[in-house]
Amino acid sequence: MTAKDKILYFLYLHRTGLTVTAFAAFVLVFPLVEDNPYTLGLTNLIALYALVVLGLNLFIGYAGQISLGHAAFFGLGAYGSAIATTAFNLPPWPAMALVAALVALVALVVGLPALRLHGHYLAMATLGCNIVVYTVLVQWHPVTGGHSGFSGIPPLALGDFVFDEEGRFHYLVWSFTLLALLASLNLVRSGVGRGLAALAADETAAACLGVDVRSAKVKVFVLSAVFASLAGSLFAHCYGFVSPDSFGIFRSVDFVIMVVLGGLGSIWGSLFGAALVTLLPEWIEVFDTYKDLIHGLILVLILMFLPQGLITGLADLLKQRLALYRRRLESRDADA
């Protein structure tokens, strides 16, 4: 092996870690280059949504299930942190962990019966779960503040360093998102991830290869709920204000659109999907006015022409073409 081969092999072997490191470096210097609070506010929002979408993509994209209710876990995380730190005066960090544990428990209780369902029925069950949570947030006035929500949630802090403006918040929320990104990338490259991909394709075959289908589905559902809950807690501490409108079923649908745009089962695509859906209304004004209409149209078009989602669909197409092309070349060589 020459030195060049060795370097190339090293790059190939550590491609995932190196890409994540490069991306982390980019995130690290981003606020130094771009210090406009409005832009940073947007990228922070992307990071928050990406955190939810990473978990949801594991559940929808990798394990092949469907959830139209992840805004509920996002909302439970936000309200949980908000209530724990204001009404009970708990310190923010332990409150966040506690809330994530409680949301995991809720997801377990919901998931155990709901994940026996498939397809449309599972979509309906999760949708119903979101509507229940939304209604509780609106109706339980003394605790949640009803429609108007409530404010005065303290910001997070590390010692004396308070995450109270967008530039500082950038580092906090992107740390979480990068860790989730790394964890997701690791998960899908392991036996657990292959098991999820297998059960997405064919539950019987997966079970016959030793995948505990039911338990794996529940586990990945709980994991995605925990990601959503953490994002919710960060959301509450970042904006200092929560109201039920951020956690309705249309937010859930937006999350699904982000997953589909990013590509089912594409971890990096999750970042892309979250970014695109967040930024589109900023770039083109029509999007803001007819947001729901256009989101729906995007979803329909992608599912019609690239059912695996935008990025994954294109990548699959490319991989397939390449392999077919190589096969043709080989058979031509064999003939010659």
Binding site: A183, S184, N186, L187, R189, S190, G191, V192, G193, R194, G195, A197, A198, A201, D202, T204, A205, A206, A207, C208, L209, G210, V211, D212, V213, A216, K219, V220, L223, Q308, D316, K319, Q320, A323, L324, R327
Partner: protein, 254 residues
Amino acid sequence: MLTLEGLSKNFGGLPALQEVSFRLRGGDITALIGPNGAGKSTLINCITGVLAPSAGRVDFLGRDLTGLPAHEVTRSGIARTFQNLRIFPRLSVLDNVLCGLTLEAGRSFFSAMLRLPPLRHRERRLRLRALEALDRFSLADKAAWPAGILAYGDRKRLEMARAFVGEPQLVLLDEPVAGLNAAETAAVGREIVRLKSEGHTLLLVEHDMDLVMSIADQVVVLDSGRCIARGTPAEVQRNPLVLEAYLGRMEPTA
């Protein structure tokens, strides 16, 4: 090694299997034959836990497997292939085979997300074993292809590679040569004999009588859910019940 005692399966009152009993000896090739609809695939599904039997007992190496879910049956050392191929078309050929090593890859979400060095090393070892298995079934040069573009014969061999990669103690092959041409059938037959010589135990569901009669040590004949004969290929071929099941009753004609 595997003992079936009075295994029965009803689908809503309709009996698909009735009191099937036989045993497999370790190291043997047993062929399960019978006309269409005889219950061969149902029997395989009952053994592997895809279906729960209505009555009877499945005993494997002294362990009662009756009614266990499929992943538990797999855990006890039984692997299988499917009649209507069930490969994962979007995964690469290599990943398909790695799915056959699920039991050894660990199922903890935490350790998978952390990916500490022990897990990395294990993944590398598993990858090597999967490549070896692909090599045996001469698919190694296609390891990176998406499995969906493989030709039919390659898919069949991929399923065999996936079943054998985990070194199971018993492999159930559901119609391994269905749809293959004569040359491919002969190749699969040689492969099966080689697997036997390496000490694997196989249960084979097959319609290709030439193949069955040439490689099987024991033949079990099912008809309408009942086990009507079992014995060596020569014995079964002479059995009048078997001839009747396949050819219909011989009526004396004028």
